[in-house]
């Protein structure tokens, strides 16, 4: 059964329909890239998938492991294994990173019928995961995302992803605001989590991220629809001809 199946998805914010019938099927172990110009509906798609308030599905369905998630709240979807790496991670002043991460991990574990991790056990776990991603202990002690640089915020997202071990990871413009070195670190972190248990949807504007996170499929999103699907060479085509070239050809 497919990990994720998006069927003829129409969605709107307020009165404006942004997504006009999206179809996409992804299996576990696959990495799909969604590329598109500004305003094509990329971020909307990530919010609709993750169940953000204010994004209304008017037609179609989203299935995870064959089960519709449309009636589920954002937190239920998350506990089921959906993870969104934010384009702009949000600051939570005064909220200790350790407490936040542990609450998130335990919410997910509870859903899976696993025992909660105690404070001490979690500190050990978080430190070892952080170390692998090159995230310093000092960052774990700070309030969530407060005073983090752009690169730190993105790395922190990937750290959360590694701790939560999602079955479906949606990466929304994870490359934005990263310099070449930071891009490499973040991509390495993502690649380390590729595997048979996890499907990834990588949303990006630029091809350069896909040099590091090599996708199995590339979809071009334009005007709220997927206009073309191909393998990784499609991304190179975009790089060469621009979105306009692809869109017109389709």
């Amino acid at each position: 059964m497919a990990l994720l199946e998006i069927r003829d998805l129409h969605a709107r914010i307020g009165d404006a329909e942004i997504l006009h019938g999206i179809n996409l099927t992804m299996d576990r172990g696959e990495v799909h890239a969604i590329m598109g110009p500004n305003g094509s509906g990329k971020s909307t798609l990530s919010y609709v998938l993750s169940g953000r308030d204010g994004y209304e599905v008017t037609q179609g369905d989203i299935l995870m492991d064959g089960e519709s998630v449309l009636e589920m709240e954002a937190d239920e979807r998350a506990r089921l294994g959906m993870f969104l790496a934010f384009q702009y991670p949000v600051e939570l002043p005064g909220v200790s990173g350790m407490a936040f991460l542990r609450a998130a991990v335990n919410a997910r574990r509870k859903e899976q019928g696993l025992d909660e991790v105690d404070q001490l056990g979690f500190v050990k776990l978080a430190r070892s995961v952080a170390k692998n991603l090159g995230v310093g202990d000092e960052m774990l002690k700070r309030a969530v995302n407060v005073g983090f640089s752009g690169g730190e915020k993105k790395r922190y997202e990937i750290l959360q992803m590694a701790l939560l071990e999602p079955s479906l990871a949606v990466l929304d413009e994870t490359d934005s605001g990263l310099d070449v070195d930071a891009l490499k670190i973040v991509s390495d972190g993502v690649n380390a989590q590729r595997g048979d248990n996890c499907g990834m949807l990588v949303i990006t504007h630029y091809q350069r991220l896909l040099d590091h996170i090599v996708p199995d499929y590339v979809h071009i999103l334009a005007g709220g629809q997927i206009v073309k699907t191909g393998d990784k060479t499609l991304a190179l085509e975009v790089e060469k001809n621009g979105y306009a070239g692809i869109h017109n050809a389709a």
Partner: protein, 483 residues
């Protein structure tokens, strides 16, 4: 999301979210309803008080009769019929508890249910408790151990008899009888409370704590607490409060006086969780409290930390009179209001001594259709050379039907004084909430986490044993507040 909140509301309505709302069924002895000189004589006789105490009470009563009710706070206070209240209610069994073995098991069970086991073996290590049930203290733990250190920790009704010289010297010396309407009322009818005396040079070996419980219907609780810290002594004291869930309003008018001598430090923490009333504002405690600390000695320090989540109406301004040279006053406050609650709370820092300094950190969180006001006075007297104050008032709004207000009064009569005031008002943003939800936290947990983050600077001032409880309490108080 709306659906989730609705379900939560339904469950709450069915079960009641205030988990301390139960009533203990014990036989009570009560004075007749109403307030007059005979009732005061009755209370005084019941407590077997000396003549001077009765005279003091009567004087207070006569003052009170002439005083108008204060109306300056941003509170809508329905008229209170002072003759429709019981001023004395005590469990019959509790008249003379000598040791824990003699305390009515029903009362011990009540405190156990409240999470305050009075059995010394089961208690939190290092915390001594005085348990006040309606008008009397029913048990005080660890007294012998404290006595070894020379610390006196007992019900004030007992101290009046056993240490009259201390009580006579200090009672009313920080909060005069005529200070305000509610302090005069309290002085006339107070029934019990805690008395603490820390001798010179002693660091109190454990946390002291008083747990106030209002149980009887139509009964007011008027407790009086007096803490004296002699030169170079230290004490940390915590009070907790709960009451049954009732449709009628109940009055709680307490007076707390603290005295710190040279180099002494008193840390006073409150976790106030009186029944707040229901969503529509029916029932709940009216909490009119006068708390004041006198930093009489040089380099003395008094620190107030309060977490206020309960009560239908809160009227409370724990203050410091900084008379000693280089004395220090601190006020750390979290006030959470939800439903139809109203809070008008803050502090007064009166700088009289040279080099005195004070810090005020106030965090107000309003949800539902509640109103939350910070009201604070910083006053620098003429002789207070180089006095300093730093004030920070932050308000957090949850939802769009509540109100947050900040009313600072600043008066400086010495040109060397330095006063800083910072204030912010913010909202829990939809971005923050979604970020937490996307990590799998449910809405209640997300709000609790964000609010506790907002209050962090204050929460870290609480004694460790109580910080966790207070964090949970803030979460519970805000349940059903996001829609």
């Amino acid at each position: 999301m709306v659906a989730t909140v609705e379900t939560i509301n339904q469950v709450e309505q069915a079960t009641g979210s205030y988990k301390y709302g139960f009533v203990t069924d014990v036989e009570m002895e009560k004075a007749p309803k109403g307030l007059n000189e005979d009732i005061i004589r009755f209370i005084s006789a019941k407590k077997d008080e000396p003549e001077w105490m009765l005279d003091w009470r009567l004087k207070a009563y006569r003052y009170w009769l002439k005083m108008p009710t204060p109306d300056w706070a941003k509170l809508n206070i329905p008229p209170i019929d002072y003759n429709d209240i019981y001023y004395y209610a005590a469990p019959k069994s509790a008249e003379t508890p000598k040791s824990l073995d003699e305390v009515d098991p029903e009362l011990l069970r009540t405190y156990e249910k409240l999470g305050i086991p009075l059995n010394e073996q089961k208690m939190l290590a290092g915390v001594a408790v005085d348990a006040v049930f309606d008008s009397v203290s029913v048990a005080t733990t660890f007294r012998e151990e404290l006595a070894k250190a020379g610390v006196i920790f007992c019900p004030i009704s007992e101290a009046i008899k056993t240490h009259p010289e201390l009580v006579k010297k200090y009672i009313g010396s920080v909060v005069p009888v005529s200070d305000n309407y509610f302090s005069a009322l309290n002085s006339a009818v107070f029934t019990d409370g805690s008395f603490v005396y820390i001798p010179k040079g002693v660091r109190c070996p454990m946390e002291l704590s008083t747990y106030f419980r209002i149980n009887e219907k139509n009964t007011g609780q008027f407790e009086r607490t007096l803490i004296i810290a002699e030169d170079e002594s230290y004490v940390s004291y915590l009070e907790g409060c709960t009451a049954p869930q009732r449709d009628e309003n109940q009055l709680h008018a307490a007076v707390v006086e603290l005295v710190a001598h040279h180099d002494a430090e008193i840390k006073y923490s409150t976790v106030q969780n009186w029944y707040p009333g229901d969503e529509e504002g029916k029932g709940g405690i009216y909490n009119f409290v006068t708390k004041r600390g006198a930093c009489r000695g040089d380099r003395s320090k008094i620190s107030w930390t309060q977490v206020e989540t309960g009560s239908a109406i809160t009227w409370k301004y724990p203050s410091c009179v900084l008379r000693g040279k280089d004395s220090v006053g601190e006020f750390y406050s979290v006030a959470v209001t939800n439903g139809a609650q109203q809070a008008d709370t803050g502090t007064k820092m009166i700088h009289i001594g040279e080099g005195s300094s004070s810090t005020i950190i106030s965090k107000g969180i309003s949800a539902g259709k509640s109103q939350n006001t910070y009201r604070g006075l910083v006053e620098i007297h003429k002789g207070a050379e180089n006095a300093r104050n730093f004030t920070q008032c932050d308000s957090l709004l949850v939802g769009d039907k509540c109100g947050a207000h900040t009313v600072p009064y600043i008066s400086s009569r010495n040109p060397t004084g330095k006063v800083e005031h910072e204030a912010t008002t913010s909202r829990i943003s939809e971005d923050q909430l979604f970020y937490c939800l996307q990590r799998g936290l449910d809405e209640e947990d997300a709000v609790s986490l964000i609010v506790n983050g907002f209050c962090k600077e204050v929460m870290k001032e609480l004694p460790m044993e109580f910080a966790v409880e207070a964090q949970k309490l803030i979460g519970i108080s805000l349940e059903g507040s996001v829609g």
